[in-house]
Symmetry: C2
Subunit: 145 residues, 2 copies
Amino acid sequence: MIDETQRVKDWELLAQFSQAYRTLSDAFMEQITMHRAQATVLCKLFMQDGLTQSEIAQQLAVQGATVTDMLQRMEENKLVTRRRDPEDNRLVRVYLTEEGRKRERAITEQFLKLESHIFEAFDEHERAQLRHLLTRMLHNMTSER
Amino acid sequence: MIDETQRVKDWELLAQFSQAYRTLSDAFMEQITMHRAQATVLCKLFMQDGLTQSEIAQQLAVQGATVTDMLQRMEENKLVTRRRDPEDNRLVRVYLTEEGRKRERAITEQFLKLESHIFEAFDEHERAQLRHLLTRMLHNMTSER
DNA sequence: CCCTAATCATTAGTACCCTAACGATATATC
DNA sequence: GATATATCGTTAGGGTACTAATGATTAGGG
């Protein structure tokens, strides 16, 4: 008989990991005076400027209301500007400011540092293995039904 | 040359996973009218009643202030009671109420459901592999320096 | 015994994330 | 063209998380 009261359940491990990832990335971003979620939004804009708010919400897998709040703070801090799309007035398109664009290097470097910290002592085979497992779990978690 | 602009970076995968886990567990807990973090606290108390707040903070890997807020809400909702430890008056010990204890079955079942949803189509070997990789990352993430 | 340092919990302020309800705009159907 | 439906963003309210500052209690060193 395995002692059920002692064994760490898998969901506990996932919860711990999820929490630890956020805490650590908060700490890394704080080193360059950024917030985790805001840095992530900027990363999306580095790849493609002028995304709509709902596109950002979808890419971050958060609700639209969350994005509204975040972008309001980011606009106050002059990291982005927001303009209605003239083609479709429902859409709000988000653009990097000069100030936002200036942070590209620091942010991408910091995310790479975070990555190498987390994968300390991992070889490429193990990273590939992990990618595969995470991708499958992600599929299970986000698929309908 | 690999096209760096296309490949999903590992930190993005970790961030996605972390977000998806929270969203999904929020959804599962919402089905039984509970909040993710509060359910986790109750689980710790199911294992060991009368934990102090700092012990709970350590087990959840969050700051003490976070636990204070959570437990105040949980006490208002009659899920737990809090009493100062007579041996050491700095400590606040947290105890399950009858109401809190009543939720044990529903909560543990719901976490198991969550687990089997996430690990759909995983065999035991793959789960063991994942446990190993996650544990090592967790170690990298939480170790000093 | 007193003073200092350590530990524990709380408060205040901020950011992130959710749901629910709502207003504005665009599209589809008649 | 008018009405119905869908989409997009905002607001309001609540839960989860952080840091920094504070107060209360305990433990240690002289």
